[in-house]
């Protein structure tokens, strides 16, 4: 096999001068300190009284107010766990100038901001840190600001996030219009005084605002653009902690401050969640860049969380308290598992990008022999993300399905919505499985498609590998011992749920059972059986190897031909081609075949070229008309200012006239 068959790689990250290691170490220790402080605050808020803290002088005239509620503490803890691993990871990642100086400064601040948002207890504090988070993440997306693609991604992200911010601002203004203070406790009392139509409007605005941060369709388009541009640890934080905070806002203001609503709110959330998860997973399945694939998978998983939240609302509105509780529990598990496996996925993608210079699956392959630890870590990600038993996401999905399946005879739209939701979940997990088989099989197995083979030495255990190991352990812990996490999850779910708490507990020690509902799973037992089977096979193989004839090295059988090249393997695009064909109505792939014929005969083809460009069909259908309308509007506005001084003076005089007339 010759080297000319290999793809040529362009370095993913431009060379930067080596920053002084002191700056890197200071930044990482600050990040770690912030993460540990957040972890402490989260544990304190969940299991003890929690802290309350006000600083009236900081942003006058409102000041800052914090209170570690149990819900907020859960999200703070979630953020802190991922942040801690990212901080450890950065000790390996940030050296040799992979992060710009701005990013080094932003990282600890970003972590602290993410942890503080769920603890904010008044509208000004919440909005201040929310906007701060948006700006910090924007700076991280612009880590390689000289790249045109990074600039475009940052622009899109800035527009979506500011649009979301103003929706949230409007929603909070509406909710707060009847309350006496800006604190969240008085907000809830004030929300009760709103008319139903005002409540609905506030809910819709909050859904748009927080949905844009959570990456729900149709405001998801920034995710697959921003993540490939941001450095891997920043992607890990944004795709786990930041999107979870979008869900936090939705829960906080939709479910707790507005205290639930009519069943159709839940149905709307269910619908948006179903569309997000199915669309996200279909786009994910045809993505050939590992980071884009993971970004779309975030939309998919946040869609699942939104479905759980919608189920909660629907069940609560139709007085199925136990089912609502189960859906809430599912939401908690889905959020937790997504944070650990998606964080791990992006961290692994970062190691791959550093080692090979690319995250394009069509240029990767054979990493399992070169990066054993990273491959094992991504194997855990693939298992968890594909919703199979012994994967972390399976637990949450199973509980959600249980809450939907156990809905007895119900009337009206709810009776229709439950089976449709089950169908959406089944479709999502089915395609999700294919996606993860593709990501792992194409990227890590087989033969290398690029010539990184010799440069890449054996993977050494460093901070990056340690942090991935921590996250992988967290994944396996959720998957194998969910019962151990059940008390925490039940505690959080009982805070989350807006209507009463069912009696009983969610778990017994070795099995994982749902109170009241008939279902139970035995993850520990299945893990033990699987481990036993693997051990038995390993022993049998070892035993058999003694009596087996010696191995003879031979060339790969190629049906009589010689010289198989790695390019002949299945690649990410060819693996996804059937899916692209089946879902062509959704994806609307842009493919183009160009053929050239010989001059002598038009029937004999000399060259065929095939182009296939992936694009986000929702983005193309929805965003482009809006952006062209805005630029048309801008062209009209440009007619008004043509540079003539006389015209500007006339405008000024006219404006003054209007002011005088109005004030008169």
């Amino acid at each position: 096999m010759s080297n000319s068959d290999h793809l040529k790689l362009h370095s993913h990250t431009e060379a930067r001068p080596d920053r002084s290691s002191n700056a890197v170490i200071a930044s990482n220790f600050a990040s770690m300190a912030a993460a540990l402080a957040g972890l402490a605050a989260g544990i304190d808020g969940l299991w003890s009284r929690g802290l309350a803290f006000t600083a009236p002088g900081i942003i006058p005239p409102f000041g800052l107010a914090f209170h570690s509620s149990e819900l907020g503490s859960f999200f703070t803890m979630l953020v802190a766990v991922v942040s801690l691993c990212v901080a450890i990871y950065n000790f390996g990642y940030a050296k040799s100038g992979r992060l710009s100086p701005v990013s080094l400064v932003i990282f600890p601040l970003f972590i602290a901001t993410l942890e503080v948002i769920p603890l904010a207890n008044a509208i000004p504090s919440f909005l201040f840190f929310w906007e701060l988070m948006a700006l910090e993440s924007l700076a991280l997306v612009l880590d390689h600001h000289q790249r045109v693609s990074a600039q475009r991604a940052a622009l899109l992200y800035a527009i979506v996030t500011q649009f979301g911010f103003f929706s949230i601002l409007a929603a909070l203004a509406l909710i707060g219009s009847h309350s006496h203070g800006l604190g969240f406790s008085s907000l809830r009392a004030g929300a009760a005084a709103l008319t139903p139509s005002e409540r609905t409007l506030a809910f819709l605005l909050a859904l748009v605002g927080f949905g844009s941060k959570a990456g729900l369709v149709p405001l998801h388009a920034w995710l697959p653009k921003a993540h490939p541009e941001a450095p891997a640890p920043a992607s890990a934080l944004m795709s786990t902690a930041m999107v979870s905070l979008g869900i936090y806002g939705l829960i906080k203001f939709g479910l707790i401050v507005l205290a639930g609503g009519p069943a159709w709110w839940g149905l709307l959330l269910l619908g948006i969640g179903a569309v997000s998860s199915v669309y996200g997973v279909i786009e994910s399945s045809v993505s050939s860049d590992l980071k884009v694939l993971l970004a779309y998978s975030t939309t998919e998983n946040m869609g699942l969380v939104a479905m759980a939240a919608g189920t909660d609302l629907v069940m609560a509105a139709t007085h199925h308290i136990e089912l609502a509780f189960a859906a809430t529990l599912a939401m908690v598990f889905l959020l937790g598992s997504h944070a650990v496996f998606k964080g791990l996925g992006f961290l692994a993608a970062g190691v791959i990008a550093n080692g090979t210079g690319t995250t394009d699956l069509n240029a990767l392959g054979g990493l399992n022999k070169r990066m054993r630890l990273t491959s094992a870590a991504f194997g855990v990600v693939a298992l968890s993300a594909s919703c199979l038993p012994l994967g972390a996401a399976f637990i949450g999905e199973w509980i959600l399905l249980q809450s939907l399946i156990h809905l007895g005879p119900a009337g009206g739209v709810v009776a229709l919505a439950a089976p449709l939701t089950i169908g959406a979940i089944a479709l999502t997990s089915g395609i999700g499985l294919l996606t993860m088989v593709k990501a792992f099989g194409i990227g890590f197995l087989g033969k290398a498609r690029s010539n990184y083979g010799d440069d890449l030495g054996a993977e050494r255990v460093g901070p990056m590998q340690w942090s991935m190991g921590l996250l992988a352990a967290a994944n396996l812990a959720i998957a194998i011992f969910p019962a151990a996490l059940a008390p925490l999850a039940t505690h959080v779910a009982s805070v989350l749920i807006s209507v009463g708490e069912p009696s009983g507990h969610a778990s017994v020690t070795s099995q994982f059972a749902l109170f009241g509902l008939g279902g139970a799973i035995f993850p520990l037992a299945s893990a033990a059986v699987l481990a036993g089977a693997i051990l038995a096979i390993a022993i049998a193989v070892r035993f058999n190897a003694r009596s087996a004839p010696p191995r003879i090295p031979a060339e790969l059988w190629a049906c009589g031909a010689r010289g198989l090249s790695p390019a002949m393997q299945h690649n990410a695009s060819s693996f996804a081609e059937p899916l692209q064909r089946v879902f062509s109505d959704v994806l609307r792939p842009k493919t183009d075949v160009e053929t050239e014929t010989f001059e002598e005969s038009r029937l004999i083809i000399s060259r065929v070229e095939f182009h296939s460009a992936q694009h986000d069909s929702i983005e193309t259908a929805l965003y482009e008309p809006i952006s062209s309308a805005v630029s048309n509007l801008g062209r009209l506005a440009r007619l008004a200012h043509n540079g003539s001084l006389g015209r500007y003076l006339a405008f000024g005089a006219f404006g003054l006239l209007v002011v005088l007339v109005v004030l008169h």
Partner: protein, 159 residues
């Protein structure tokens, strides 16, 4: 139940060959009862291929004697070669032979594979199969009939 009754009443309707004479069997070192062969068309006119495909039809049912074709010689017992060995197929034939694990059998099907059938002088012809490999069994005919092929292959599969 009607189907089961019909099956028991009808019995086997494919052609049943006469029982195998144990004295005529070949290659006692190969396992009996099953024979997986990789077919190599070394330069055939496809006459032998048509008769070979006929062997797998319900009438002759070669697979009922434990004989079948495989795509990869890696898990086969040998090669089934048809046609004269042409220069273009010389290397692939030797590659396929090298890829077959020991113990292996080479079967030449048709007059071309056995003695070039008058084509030896052709500019693209490299020779017979036995010029290249040690042939264990020759099945003459231009082309051999399916029943001849079945009878010959049964001597190797011993079934």
């Amino acid at each position: 139940m009607g189907l089961v009754k019909r099956i028991t009443r009808l019995g086997r309707i494919t052609q049943t060959q006469p029982p195998l004479d144990p004295a005529t069997t070949l290659r006692s070192d190969l396992r009996s009862g099953s024979l997986l062969l990789r077919h190599v068309d070394a330069g055939s006119c496809n006459g032998c291929e048509i008769e070979l495909s006929g062997c797998f039809s319900p009438k002759y049912d070669l697979e009922s004697y434990g004989i079948s074709l495989t795509a990869s010689p890696r898990h086969g017992d040998g090669l089934l070669v048809t046609g004269v060995v042409t220069r273009n197929m010389q290397k692939p034939l030797m590659d396929a032979w090298a890829a077959t694990p020991e113990p292996k059998v080479v079967i030449a099907v048709g007059d071309c594979a056995i003695d070039c059938n008058g084509l030896r002088a052709g500019y693209g012809v490299a020779g017979t199969v036995s010029d290249h490999l040690a042939v264990d069994l020759e099945i003459p005919g231009c082309p051999p009939t399916p029943s001849e092929i079945v009878a010959a292959l049964r001597r190797v599969s011993k079934r």
